[in-house]
Amino acid sequence: MRRIISILMENEPGALSRVVGLFSQRNYNIESLAVAPTEDPTLSRLTLTTEGSDKVIEQITKQLNKLIEVVKLVDLTEGSHVERELMLIKLRATGAQRAEIKRTVDIFRGQIVDVTSTVYTVQLTGDGEKLDAFIQAVGTMGVLEVVRSGVSGIARGEKVLSL
């Protein structure tokens, strides 16, 4: 089952490589990874998605917790949560296709953030499935480049991941 694990860790050099190294060392799989400092500059928040049985996920969270720089972590998929991913996608946009792309972007509530006479760059946020659906919808129109941020997530309601 796919899981979203969100980690608060010391914002120190080498901390990220420990997390990534752990996954390859123990034969776990990282599907996506997003990391940035938090409002507290001594802490980074890392969100990763992975797949595995309950037993494997239990080992992953235990092994992550053993890393000295990991302060706290949560498996967001254990409770209700919001997950979002940002995508920037560059499309060939000429002639009649320009209007068609514009309409599709509107339907998906995306924005065109850069325009040239032949290219639209579209920004879209949502969960992974929505982004996949958009790529499929515009698939015939000439996708030039896709950049996805990886999943970020947060628990719903009062529940917070903080010190």
Partner: protein, 573 residues
């Protein structure tokens, strides 16, 4: 406040940490540190002949005393040569602090002379590692390194020290911190009371219980607590190869050790048990055999300081995360207070069954092969000559198994072997580390003619520092364990498991200024060992030519359960 250079702070921090000896080898990036070392007498340095041996010396010391061993090496090859020793310590949870020189900060990343990314290279095999970014943080980092190495589940910690951090012209205020606290690291200080109660309830209701005790009992200094609890309950105890001595092997309740080459009675008792009380053990594949066939009728209580060890390979019914000593103490007081008692009738029947297994195949069983000296009888002779009270280190292979099987340890910290990583070349330097700190104790390395050649250069170190260890070589003229597997699985095709062109060991040891004896006849075995151990001031190598055909038994059948074993070359149960 005193003003010191980075190098001086490093050495002073070691002194204030209570470090007496460090083991190492100098080189360019570490020279400021070596100069600071030269100008003081508190911290003594042992110059090894290869950095790997420095880590094993530190490791042997740590295993015998429980205190972290300290290693000092230079950058690049000095640092990478410690990797095997760090991995050895890591697999067996041994506290160790490794100080590595590094090229100066401004050169890092430029492929400078003797530059290696030691932080990156060592990352998967350390508990933690860190780089010095400013000389003033050295005392703090040293304190942190020792704290991490020793607390919780112990392990090796590496500090990478760029050369400019130790430059003699820098001057910084020195103060060694009294303690260190880290918001991200808080090992458990006691087990969950409710879980401990649940575990005790299960013990009271068990009919076929086994205590399965690992290296955590030795590391956690909980042998007495384990022994008291086992005696109070009357339960049988089996140790892992890492846990030997954690429960006295000659105690009536001891079943010997378990697993791939464990005793018949241990493996049978485990397989047929209804309750396994696992204390500081990690259900390693060399213990469990196939996990899907592991002990089908047993419920499992698992006590360990490391939550990640629990339910990693075998699911625990009652997990208890905490230090083994305090958990065992709490269990013992609950057992003593309890109005209930384990079912004595069931326990008697269980013991009767276990005794039958023990009689069917004694844990000290082996067969003679003509006039050949059997490796097992060499170990038994060693046991008699050292009165069972030596510190015994071993290398890796058949001799290691024979030593563990035929030298019963009654005290913890006496059996020193590389159980997890299986590092050949470990035993001799480990013995040196112990002898250095305990010159009055008998320290003996049991080895083979393959393993001993993997760190034999340290004979020179022994001469320099006068380390009269004894080395018992079970010489079967082959890489015995490899050969055994080739006999069993590869129709005796001996691909590179033989040892042609062995050195003349007597001349070799003599060349290094030591003594060597060769034993080829049974009647010489014990007298020569007596003579060797009487030479208190000499390093003595006893080269014992043993039966070259012998296998280690029992041996679990691969892919089977714990009870599926070969008991001899022909008998499979």
């Amino acid at each position: 406040m005193e003003l010191l250079s980075g190098a001086e702070m490093l050495i002073r921090s070691l002194k204030d940490q209570g470090v007496e000896y460090i083991y190492g080898y100098p080189g360019g990036a570490a020279l400021h540190i070596y100069d600071a070392l030269f100008r003081q007498d508190d911290v003594k340095h042992i110059l090894v002949r290869h950095e790997q041996a420095a880590t094993h010396m530190a490791d042997g010391y740590a295993r015998a005393t429980g205190e972290p061993g300290v290693v000092l090496v230079t950058s690049g090859p000095g640092a990478t040569n410690t990797i095997t020793g760090i991995a050895t310590a890591s697999m067996d949870s041994i506290p160790m602090v490794v100080l590595c020189g590094q090229v100066a900060s401004h050169l890092i990343g430029e492929d400078a002379f003797q530059e290696t990314d030691m932080i990156g290279v060592s990352r998967p095999i350390v508990k933690h590692n860190m780089t010095v970014r400013h000389p003033s943080e050295i005392p703090q980092l040293v304190k942190k390194a020792f704290y991490l190495a020793q607390s919780g589940r112990p392990g090796p910690v590496v500090i990478d020290i760029p050369k400019d951090m130790t430059a003699p012209n820098g001057r910084f205020e020195y103060e060694y911190p009294e303690k260190v606290s880290m918001r991200s690291y808080n090992p458990a200080v006691r087990g969950h009371a409710g879980q401990i109660r649940r575990a005790v309830d299960m013990m009271m209701n068990a009919r076929r219980p086994v205590i399965y005790a690992g290296g955590g009992v030795v590391l956690g200094k909980a042998s007495q607590q384990l022994t008291d609890l086992a005696h109070e309950l009357g339960f049988p105890v089996t140790n892992t190869i890492m846990g030997l001595g954690g429960f006295p092997a000659t105690d009536e309740q001891s079943l010997g050790w378990l697993g791939m080459h464990g005793s018949y009675e241990s493996n049978m008792a485990m397989h047929h048990s209804d309750l396994i009380l696992a204390i500081g053990a990690r259900f390693d594949d060399r213990v469990t055999n196939a996990t899907d066939k592991f002990c089908p009728g047993a419920r499992i209580v698992h006590v360990d300081i490391d939550p990640a060890s629990i339910s990693k390979t075998v699911q625990a019914d009652v997990p208890i995360v905490g230090p083994v000593d305090s958990v065992l103490e709490e269990m013992l007081s609950l057992v003593r207070e309890s109005e209930e008692q384990p079912d004595q009738e069931a326990l008697e029947a269980w013991w009767k069954q276990i005794r039958e297994w023990g009689q069917y195949r004694s844990r000290y069983h082996y067969e003679q092969n003509g006039d050949n000296i059997m490796p097992q009888e060499a170990i038994q002779a060693l046991y008699r000559v050292t009165k069972g009270d030596a510190y015994v280190t071993s290398d890796v292979g058949q001799h290691q198994m024979f030593a563990a099987q035929f030298y019963p340890f009654d005290k913890p910290n006496r059996w020193i072997n590389s159980g997890g990583l299986g590092t050949m070349g470990f035993g001799f330097p480990a013995a040196m580390g112990i002898k250095l700190h305990m010159p009055e104790q008998e320290v003996v390395c049991v080895t083979g003619e393959g393993s001993i050649q993997m760190n034999i250069q340290e004979l020179s170190t022994c001469k320099q520092y006068h380390l009269p260890v004894k080395i018992i070589n079970l010489n079967n003229q082959a890489l015995g364990m490899v050969k055994q597997w080739q006999d069993m699985n590869y129709e005796s095709r001996y691909a590179h498991s033989y040892m042609e062109s062995l050195p003349n060991f007597e001349k070799l040891f003599e060349a290094y200024g030591h003594v060597a004896f060769t034993v080829t006849r049974r009647e010489d075995l014990e007298p020569v060992l007596e003579k060797a151990f009487a030479m208190k001031d000499q390093l003595v190598f006893v080269d014992i030519y043993v039966d070259p055909y012998e296998h280690v038994y029992p041996m679990q059948v691969a892919g089977g359960s714990m009870k599926d074993m070969w008991l001899s070359k022909t008998e499979r149960v």
